[in-house]
């Protein structure tokens, strides 16, 4: 690289170069946090919808407020996520792997939670609305774990 035709760096030069490289790596890790916030926001949106459904006496019947409220949560959430996505300027291989891993894990785990909830009649007609909320809280565990892993990097 460029040092080939230049005087060899001293120990102090090398230490300064390594410190600068660490500094730059830290900047990328901080930029990665946006992906962590996106994963966390996805979990919060899912839980917010679940909270609204939980307030219904019978989720199968719906309600005059619940429908528009869920629509508003999804709309605001979607706009927010698109905005944060468009602001991403750097990401590491580890963070993007965790992000896509979280999506896959959530999809699979959520499918299992839904399947078990239906099979066990946890969501059957006549069951209280909070059953849906509890299932949602369990379903978002992969998203919360991934968000924590990305934000702690």
């Amino acid at each position: 690289m460029q040092f080939v035709s230049e005087p060899a760096p001293t120990q102090r030069d090398a230490q300064a170069a390594l410190a600068e490289a660490n500094n730059q790596a830290g900047r990328v890790r901080r930029a990665d946090h946006q992906l962590g916030w996106i994963v966390l926001a996805t979990a919060v949106i899912y839980l917010a919808v679940a909270v609204v459904v939980s307030t219904l006496p019978d989720p199968r019947q719906g309600g005059p407020v619940a429908g528009p409220a869920i629509l508003a949560i999804l709309l605001v959430g979607l706009v927010g996520l698109v905005y944060v996505f468009s602001r991403i300027r750097a990401y590491s291989r580890a963070a993007i792997s965790l992000y896509f891993g979280a999506i896959v894990a959530f999809s699979l785990w959520n499918g299992i939670v839904v399947g078990v909830s239906i099979a066990s009649r946890w969501w059957a007609s006549g069951q209280p609305g909070y059953h849906f909320g509890i299932s949602a809280a369990v379903a978002v565990i992969p998203l919360l774990v991934a968000a924590r892993l990305i934000l702690r990097r």
């Binding site: 060899a8 760096p9 790596a25 900047r27 990328v28 930029a31 750097a90």
Partner: protein
Amino acid sequence: MMALLAAASKVEFSFVRDHVEVTDSMLSKQVSALEQAGYVKVDKGFVGKRGRTWLSLTKQGRRTFDRHMAALREIANSDGAGVAALRRS
């Protein structure tokens, strides 16, 4: 700049410019030189109507940078002993 790219999968041009603290034209020249050397890959895309340029290290660039860092670590840990390694990198 190489350190920033080495830590990332992809980095937007403006992110590098802001953190390396150089002008657009200066960075463009450096990117072109590194691209010609086979160290950096440039991808252009759009977000809405805004054009975006993404930079990433090629395999060759990453290998070369890793060798360079290893040589620097050798120098930093044992005064002068890693100079030959750095010249090889």
